[in-house]
Symmetry: C2
Subunit: 615 residues, 2 copies
Amino acid sequence: MAEQQIRITFQPSGRSVFVLSGTKIIEAAGLAGININTPCGGAGTCGKCQVKIAAGLQMPCDGDKKIFNDEKLQDGWRLACQTSIKNETVVFVPETSHLVSQQKIVVESETGGSAEVLPSVHKVYVQMPAPTMDDNKADLLRLEAAIGSFKTDLKQLRNLPKLLHKYDYKGTAVLADHHLIDFEEGDTTKQCYGVAFDIGTTTIVGSLLNLCDGSELAITAQMNPQVSFGDDVLSRIEHSASCSDCLDELSGIVKSTVAEMIDNLCRQADISHDNIYEVTFAGNTTMEHLLCGIDPTPLGKVPFVPAYARGLLLDAKDFGIPVNHNGKVYVFPVIGGFVGGDTVAGILATNLSDQQGAVLMIDIGTNGEIVLAKDGQLWAASTAAGPAFEGARITYGMRATTGAIEKVVFDGDIQYSVIGNVNAVGICGSGLIDLAAEMLKSKMITSTGQLLGANQLPENLPQAIAQRIYEGDNNQVEFLISQANQGRKDLRVVLTQRDIRELQLAVGAIRAGVKIMLKKAGVETKDINRVLIAGGFGSFIRRTNAQTIGLLPAEIDHEKINYVGNASLAGAKWALLSSNARRRAEELARKTKHVELSLDNNFQMEFADAMIFPS
Amino acid sequence: MAEQQIRITFQPSGRSVFVLSGTKIIEAAGLAGININTPCGGAGTCGKCQVKIAAGLQMPCDGDKKIFNDEKLQDGWRLACQTSIKNETVVFVPETSHLVSQQKIVVESETGGSAEVLPSVHKVYVQMPAPTMDDNKADLLRLEAAIGSFKTDLKQLRNLPKLLHKYDYKGTAVLADHHLIDFEEGDTTKQCYGVAFDIGTTTIVGSLLNLCDGSELAITAQMNPQVSFGDDVLSRIEHSASCSDCLDELSGIVKSTVAEMIDNLCRQADISHDNIYEVTFAGNTTMEHLLCGIDPTPLGKVPFVPAYARGLLLDAKDFGIPVNHNGKVYVFPVIGGFVGGDTVAGILATNLSDQQGAVLMIDIGTNGEIVLAKDGQLWAASTAAGPAFEGARITYGMRATTGAIEKVVFDGDIQYSVIGNVNAVGICGSGLIDLAAEMLKSKMITSTGQLLGANQLPENLPQAIAQRIYEGDNNQVEFLISQANQGRKDLRVVLTQRDIRELQLAVGAIRAGVKIMLKKAGVETKDINRVLIAGGFGSFIRRTNAQTIGLLPAEIDHEKINYVGNASLAGAKWALLSSNARRRAEELARKTKHVELSLDNNFQMEFADAMIFPS
């Protein structure tokens, strides 16, 4: 296997990864865990992904010339989305091109306004005059005179006078939504942090933000431990009802994982748990119910009624997570039983409601959420896409993490890149899409999804590829993706007929959903201005490949298809950084029309059609 | 002892008491636990204390003739404040003359507005359409559509969907200040109760109110169990700091007593604890701090700083009192370290801020609180009057309860009435004032407070009185008030020289306080329009007697002196019944100027002067 892996190193972090020749810098950055701005989705038009090539500089492309003047080009400035890596490269990524700034820039570019860091948590350092006989007003009134009116609870009330006295009436008041949550010694205004979580059915991602300047200090991802109780929401709902403690058990394990992840984030950034004052959670409706310990069984049966719809502002201590003892939790509003806070967060982060014309957003996770925006109107639906794209139910499926094949090209033989540049141990969503597309193009898979046996293969198929087809257990045809020796162990990654069926189900659900959504809204496929692809694949989906397998409509010019990353997490971060964004999320959740695909008479028919790969 | 006790029976309650001939009906009603309206303080001018004499009718007096026409007079209608009892009497007290209505009528008469029952707690019975696939909005949104927006907490959020489903989307929502605190099966809108507490240093009084119509269902009083740790606030403050658990101990025992009293009130009125949704507490600053478990030690030393000043809205579960599990607690705002929520409640209940000219309110309890109002301006001070008027520190002192001598007249011999018409076991505040006044008038006590010995008594003193003076233990002169045989026990009630000294201290503190307050505000005694006497004496103070001993300024026409009962409890009830009253209390607390008597250079001098009884 002729893998030509090239090293690319990112500065100032110093992280490096190995990638295939021809990989775009922006994709490589994603593999290295460095998220670069790409509001235009990598079309080369917004000029926000500027990087400076320190070693391995190549000639600028047309896109670079539109953005940079000659001096800058000579200095090595390039667009990360336009520049492919051909040889060993060192890239400097300026602060302004990092993902956290992306959110600001998305807002700037799309609404004309500027993004803001205006969290509901804020800190004020105060120096108050100590009480005297001439000025012996109550401690709380004294503090109120310094910081404005606030609410408090009995516990704080018992503590505060002691603290004020101990600190000689000087210190830092911490406020969240006009509640006094702490009073700290000295000036701690710079130590103010929050964590945003995307609680996925399969994967949980957490991001630690500095609430003073909005910068991202650390990020972490873990498998949702509830997967051991089933890999889709319905099996979790069933489990929650199967014993009297089962709901608490499901709720408890996800909270424990959140707690571990917060620990991990604090260690990464070397900050104290006590300085985390707020945590935001965006998840689908079932995940949010389970997180809060709210019985989800009504979500599992007609008429699919959620307990709440507006966002929840709760006390962190009720969640048992290691943050400030008076910290707050914000749980995203939901749209309906199967369209949840993660979708609201995505709509928020992509500013979908302010886009001109028809824009489609598809969030590809265990549930495929589809949102259609048309001149300010919003429709949203959810399809049970299944966890194939997150690696579950695929024989060698895995998340986009070290050891995962994340990109595949057929070039005489199979070429692939593996995250972390180690031996491949499995394949993640983007790799699976690439592989299926290449096999379809090579006619190794029929349009009905049959994986052809060795004697049925097209004659012009390169020998190296054809040799990878063999008969496995139970006379099932299989395709050998990779094989490596590691010590005495033989590491193999294989694609089976069953895996292709799972992929067909996942693709079909999304494709049928999109079709019905468009019909509901009276929008023709050709009238779609843009398609935004969201999801935590860990890397870009190759747009043409996604169209080849039918995941995205073939009629749409691939320039109009943009990858927007984990939009749910991005929205959770916005809501952490800005009270206005939070209010906006509430508005968006209420104005979005919930389309119940399962209620649509045509859905089963469309789904059956959509299982057929496009020819 | 020639006590001529006459029975008076009140209808419709059927309660009866025995009183001395000449007792006013309104005083007798107080003894029977029936509180009749008296906004004019018994001057016979407001006409609010109308009762109908069913047996024992006498000729109407001039006051009656001003209020009633001939027909009414013939039917037996009289003013309770004007009519003295001469023979066995049966009196019907109409609903409109009861104390709860008094509050309404006070408001009507003094501000022109009408009193309102608009508690922060209210209940709404709702019948919602059950969810269908066409209408599957979230449970909380469904309820919101029915009752308007509300806040909730995680616990409610977990419970509510189950309750809605169980009760088929019909039931009673309980709201307090826009928080949903419960959802009950069926229509329970009529079962809505609250308890108002006056937390005194010596005595705690609780009143159970129906929050639908404002009626009082039961009342109960108990000794503050903290008295075992000292009978004034300073000794409680000292005790709270004397060990690490002492604050919790002091806080715990008062909360236990409050819990017992709530039990008692529920039993009396035969209602469920779960239907009590709110509790209001008015107490002096130290008592409120202790109740809430807030360290009171800063109140015991210069510069006397309270922890809070604004009223506190807290969760009842933090107080461990037996009310609805999501019930609320409102703790009155305080004015300063020694002028607390009880004074604010008193100002609220007497509408002091809206009175024309100068009005003085004196609340005689363990602390004597003095409030001066002048055309909307308010000054307040506190004096350490000591608990003499509540029975403590007096050899045979006791609260105004069964067995207490509550009225004394010299008429050849001593005449007295005992609460509950049993043998006397002690003497309460009003009895003590009467007795001291009679002894001063008879010159048995000198103006410096010396109780004369048998051989120093004035010659014209009736023999029966003179014989009561004897030399007790330690050669101290004593006065025998009463003596009775009860089984083998000899029940004696005695007044000692020491008791008179305690009385002098109590009287002197209040008298000196009043003098300094008047000076601060630039008000002459003669310019005082009205004096309102508040306190839980259990009966009226005889105004002339209070003037005789110097407790009230002698210059003031006794018509201008009105007894307003337990104004602190009345204010706590108002705040329970009306959110507007609560807002008013907050305003009053902030606008009242706190006068620190201990800071006044003249206080010690005035105090020494005021210890001398007026001649």
